[in-house]
Amino acid sequence: MINDDPGARDLVAIALRSFREAILPVVPADQRFTALMIANALGTAERELAAGTGAEPALAAAVGDLLGETGDLPVLLPRLCAAIDSGRFDAPDRQSALRAVLKDITLARLAVSNPKRLSVEQREPGR
């Protein structure tokens, strides 16, 4: 498949901007919830396309350290699940090391799905 320019990320971004500037202000009250959901969905899609797999190498290294293995994140995550299931992270110190990495993984996902919550987490990390 040959993709023409502008690409998906650019299209979603400009569609969201136009929607926010031109449509959202004139949406009737009974359609506002749907309109806000559309903006939310486009925003998430745009951030996902922008983020790509940029966060994965660092997370893969952290997961790899926990497991004593190397590999790409999509390969390591199912292995981490299996290791958790088999009890390899039951000891309290292993659990806290595990939770630290799980939080990093979850923060990377929040950056895409909910940047507001991400900023709360970064402001009050001990919450």
Binding site: T34, A41, D85, S96, R99, S113, N114
Partner: protein, 346 residues
């Protein structure tokens, strides 16, 4: 709740409903005034109706809600006839719930089983309930008292034979359900895998079995001014550990941004717990509540997965359901923060 204004019942169904209600009410005639869809509920459909009943014991005008199921539900939810039976039991126990008036178990009439209950006044929306300068201590206390009343309904009560008892314990049944609902995600999402493992290893021993609401939280009760008018949304009710409902009420995911008010974003836990102990006839066990708060995060996570699946599978294409799937990271972060706190406790 107020009506959306648009008629939601087609004329044939409305006529069938009126004729059925006339028989049920022992009336000369019943007219259903259709006031349109009410907001709320990704699983149920709520219509505002006023019943004009001529003759019989209920003769008069009754503002009501007609509640029926949507095209697809989540695994844990009760059918509408069963939900109405639960409502009957807790109404009889003296809890502040809408009185169910008519139960239509036959799906032929409206396309799905339904029931009609009295309509409560006030608002339910969580973000509005938590908006107050001062904590709503009396409201929290009253919600505690109400939960205590609900928990007085025990297995063996007439009319609730269809509710299964958890096996082998309430906690282990819950984790087993979560694991099944998580499906393939538990093998690829390590937060789910860890949460499930933690819940299995830390399950409390079996205790009392009571009727739990299982969605008892801010957003599922109605308040008119400062007065609690109704506890609503009973579709997840079942026999369980009484601490489950307290954990669900206090869980981080149901505070609507008011994390400083741990009881549902409205007040301190102490107010809720004190009200509960007034009516329940048992003490609150904070360690068990903490366990059920972790279970609450996990339950919400697997419900979000199921909601998203209704969209992904093509059963019910919906932007709202699709976006619910993308709430998973924030739910999982709540779980991880909670487990940090529990594991750090002495």
């Amino acid at each position: 709740m107020s009506g959306g204004g648009k008629a939601a019942l087609d004329p044939d169904r409305k006529a069938a409903l009126e004729s059925w209600l006339t028989g049920q009410a022992g009336a000369r005639s019943v007219t259903v005034i259709d006031e349109g869809r009410l907001s709320g509920g990704a699983i149920s459909l709520n219509l505002a109706v006023t019943l004009e009943i001529d003759g019989g014991p209920l003769s008069g005008s009754h503002p009501c809600v007609l509640r029926t199921g949507s095209a697809s539900g989540v695994s844990a939810s009760l059918g509408k006839a069963e939900e109405a039976a639960v409502l009957r039991a807790v109404f009889a126990a003296g809890a502040t719930v809408p009185e169910p008036l008519f139960i239509g178990a036959d799906p032929a009439m409206l396309g799905a089983p339904f029931y009609i209950m009295r309509r409560a006044t006030g608002v339910a929306a969580g973000f509005r309930i938590v908006k107050s300068e001062e904590p709503r201590r009396e409201l929290a206390r009253e919600l505690g008292r109400q939960l205590g009343l609900i928990h007085r309904v025990r297995p063996g009560v007439a009319g609730l034979e269809f509710l299964a008892r958890p096996e082998p314990t309430a906690a282990l049944q819950a984790v087993g359900d979560f694991r099944r609902w998580a499906g393939r995600y538990a093998a690829s999402d390590p937060v789910l895998a860890y949460g499930l493992r933690w819940l299995e290893r830390n399950a409390p021993p079996p205790g009392d079995l009571v009727l739990c609401h299982r969605d008892y939280r801010t957003g599922n009760y109605m308040v008119d001014g400062d007065r609690l008018t109704a506890i609503i949304d009973w579709e997840f009710a079942g026999w369980s550990d009484p601490m489950e409902d307290l954990g669900w009420f206090c869980a981080a995911c149901w505070r609507f941004g008011r994390n400083d008010r741990e009881a549902g974003g409205i007040a301190d836990r102490a107010d809720l717990y004190a009200g509960y102990e007034e009516t329940a006839g048992r003490r609150v066990d904070p360690a068990a509540v903490a366990y059920w708060e972790a279970a609450a995060c996990m339950r919400w996570a697997v419900i979000a997965i199921q909601q998203a699946d209704r969209h992904i599978s093509g059963t019910e294409p919906s932007l709202e359901l699709a976006l619910t799937g993308r709430m998973l990271p924030e739910i999982e972060m709540d779980l991880l923060r909670h487990l940090d706190a529990v594991e750090a406790a002495p």
